[in-house]
Symmetry: C2
Subunit: 529 residues, 2 copies
């Protein structure tokens, strides 16, 4: 298709009237056609009205139909072919194989949620049957299911133009839950957003759903975003981005007459803890694994390892020296946007000015626009404990090694950490007891704990947690990746003494959806399951 | 035991130093001994430090031990005997049978959560086993469980001195989840609170748990409450009370450097929808059921039916006339506190001043202090739609009948409603299709929908939802009654490639807790379950 620069309000292409957004190829600094004129409060109003109209019918779509809809979105995205890949590469500066992989991940994610929708466990059906003879009072027939919250506003992320964007995890899980979605596209990749937005709109049409199930808006300033979050018909928000951006949305949502949940995935430095035996036995290979994870995708991952914690001594010195060597040889890589590049440079610049942290290595400097130069710093635990600035996230390929005098200081550093998405443990058998002693602290600090891996690379599966205590996310009770993400957009409703004909299908006496209900305190085992 | 007027910080009895709180027997207006001196910020600091110390060990108590602890609390409460019943009757003005029933409910609730803890489904264990050969990338072994959020602050409610107070639903569900609890007692029943607090403290000691698992504070002003909600070691808040109180706690929690969830159950007028065939066939008996529910416990229930919605006409006129007759004959009942009585009188007074609502009946006036006189009002749908004041909760036995011209106006009134805990449908077979057409609206407006019952009386079971959209509660994703209440105090953690010896028991390969895990996308069926 020819990119039009239009937004999508349901099936209608609408031209904005605010400042133009134009994608920039960060590898060249060239602005890309077409221009995307920003939306207004009036466009938000139209999209919300349409989403609200769609809600009551969409939320009662049969599970199979909703699952097929998600699969159709995946099919439609794949059907765009090279045009999508080419545009996403141009808009992001990311290598083609990465974008191909990300398309695969995005479509896999949609199909995984389709499977989840069909299985229906998220309905969490609970039935307590009537006890008319109970003394002193009879018990009513009580049945609970989960229903969707309502229309959801999704803010696309810069660093995953497909997997955390228009048809990314937030959209897929909200649609799976039965919520219409209005996406505010990230201004870094409007063309990619338009292509994917049309794929979803085609799937809506093919599936015979109400047009309001999906809309796509653009906007460079706060107007569209704040109007979305404060519209009374929006009942939840999904966001992946900066801490300041996430907190601003949380504040706007909390100040509404009816506050709503905001699921903001914001900032994390993903500490890596090197235990003594592992460090002693395989410092060199740890350095290789670490630098590979640090520099992957120019460090532009939420799970990038921005902090290393270990006990000082010769083994750590050798690790630092090996890592420094690898960092020095690491090639510069194009960052996603000029803004992200400038923020990275500013973050590194601030760290360079501090006397409490010392640079031990810098990578090859870039010779094209917006290229990320890798940086490795070291500091002492006492300095880290004294200066909160040392744990500020620098989005990009920069990391800081915290040298601790002893186990006590390691524990202090861990306790001092803000909430994280991940914490990684590099350990050998001899380290197991030390690791076990730290587990309670680690569990309090992060949503995912890894042993002998690296935090970059987030599997889309049932057991994944991409979440964590504030400020990693705004709501530590949830995950934004994996099938449990659907739970963010649901609320329970109880039906008391309903005649069977009035009960929703999931709750009917004959259990037509063959759900494993919690029935009178026992989990049902199904004959033919 | 002799009441001491002390607080409990862990196992230590501590005397406060702020303004004295003294319970008042609302039936006589007499102040009761002893005086309870209010706590200070320093007491909050001590209780939070102790709770934080207790957290890491308490949250890893084996499920059986934690369940036994909850059962021991129930046993200890029952062991207090008549002293507890007498004191609760004196402090609340509630009849003795009601307090006896409430003790039964409280202990049943603790034992129900013990059963829930043992079953372990709340751990929501999800396992995705490693796929080392997968292309293009291998999959790690990923395992998820739920862990408790951290110490929880619970604010006791005035209207259930046992079941929603010191050892009530919030405390029981937080302890079940593995969270230490600090209760701020409601100033209306400090003696009842002290007795129950000591029962919990004895159970803590008998169970060999860390003393910081439970503390009990008093305080008449904002000092203790705000200090609790803003202490960095408190990770969630449970509250049942007024809308203004709940919103103040939400704002304080949202303004923290690390915001935390507040589960505030606040205000609801629990609309009752009378459908034409039911109204025609059994108006008289509907009036009886309605007035019985309205006046039960002097109307001091969160689920009290404060609004009736029906189509105008002779059948509704007869219902109103029958209800008015019953209201006129309804006896005055002592309210919980002088403050609640005064607020009720003020609320009724405001309604009496409005020209848009007309009083159709008032009950027998009280001749002892603090007695609630029943009131029944009527209004027209257009007036109800025009004036938000008509849907403000009046806590007590007052209700308003909204007369609608047609089905369209009924739908308008429903859409105009704020979020509710319950909506009740009185319907006969001929009303089924009208009811079905309204279900989408009703589900959006309330956490529990009832057919041909009355909203007062909230069963403690798996399927109960005592929650609902704002302002019924601050978090519509949850319930504060029933076993699903435990989910409020949990967050997921994922363990990636952990050696089995380092995994928590719930996640070990051999599944020693015999949990029905979500294993590689399938729900496990256990051989011996």
């Amino acid at each position: 298709m020819t990119l039009t620069g239009n937004m999508l309000i349901g099936q209608q292409a609408i031209t904005g009237s605010r400042e133009a957004i134009r994608a920039i190829n960060p590898a060249t600094g060239t602005a890309l056609e077409p221009a995307y004129l920003g939306g207004t409060g009036e466009h938000v109003e139209q999209a919300c009205a349409l989403a609200w109209e769609a809600f009551d019918s969409y939320r009662e779509t049969p599970l199979a139909a909703r699952a097929t809809f998600l699969e159709t979105i995946a099919d439609e995205i794949e059907a765009i072919g090279d045009e999508l890949i080419d545009r996403a590469v141009s808009e992001s500066g990311l290598p083609r194989p990465r974008i191909l992989g990300e398309r695969g991940r995005t479509c896999h994610q949609l199909r995984t949620f389709a499977r989840t929708v069909r299985a229906g466990e998220w309905l969490d059906v609970r039935v307590d049957t009537a006890l008319p003879e109970r003394q002193p009072l009879p018990r009513s027939d009580l049945r609970q299911r989960q229903v969707p919250l309502g229309p959801v506003a999704v803010f696309g992320a810069s660093n995953f133009p497909l997997a955390f964007s228009v048809a990314g995890g937030d959209t897929a899980s909200a649609l799976a839950a039965g919520c219409p979605v209005i996406v505010k596209a990230h201004s870094a990749h409007p063309g990619t957003s338009e292509l994917v937005g049309h794929a979803i709109a085609r799937a809506v049409k093919k599936s015979g759903l109400h047009a309001g199930v999906f809309s796509l808006l653009f906007g460079s300033g706060r107007e569209v975003g704040i109007a979305l979050v404060t519209d009374p018909r929006i009942k939840a928000v999904g966001f992946t981005g900066s801490r300041s951006g996430g907190i601003a949305l949380c504040k706007a949502a909390a100040a509404r007459p009816e506050p709503i949940p905001v699921y903001a995935e914001m900032s994390s430095i993903n500490p890596v803890l090197l235990f003594p035996a592992a460090l002693q036995a395989r410092g060199e290979s740890l350095a290789q694994g670490f630098v590979a994870s640090l520099t992957q995708g120019a460090g532009q991952f939420c799970t990038n390892p921005g902090l290393v914690i270990a006990r000082q001594g010769p083994a750590l010195d050798q690790f630092i020296s090996a890592a420094a060597d690898l960092v020095q040889r690491s090639q510069a890589q194009t960052m996603l946007t000029p803004g992200i590049f400038q923020a990275y440079e500013a973050g590194v610049g601030s760290l360079l000015e501090l006397t409490s942290a010392q640079e031990v290595a810098a990578g090859v400097r870039g010779n094209t626009p917006n290229q990320c130069q890798t940086h490795l710093f070291v500091t002492q635990a006492r300095d880290f404990l004294a200066d909160a600035a040392l744990q500020a996230e620098i989005f990009g390929a920069a990391s800081l090694v915290v040298q601790c005098a002893d186990d006590h200081e390691i524990r202090q550093v861990l306790e001092h950490l803000e909430g994280q998405l991940t914490i990684t443990l590099q350990l050998d058998d001899a380290d197991l007891e030390s690791a076990r002693a730290l587990l309670p602290v680690l569990e309090r600090k992060a949503g995912r704990l890894l042993v002998n891996g690296w935090p970059t690379g987030v599997e889309v599966c049932d057991a994944m947690v991409h979440g964590g205590p504030f400020p990693a996310t705004s709501d530590t009770r949830t995950t934004s990746v994996g099938t449990a993400a659907i739970l963010r957009f649901l609320r329970p409703v109880c039906y008391q003494d309903f005649p069977d004909s009035l009960l929703p299908t999931a709750l009917k006496h004959t259990n037509p959806l063959q759900l494993r209900r919690l029935l009178d305190g026992q989990r049902e085992v199904l004959e033919n399951a």
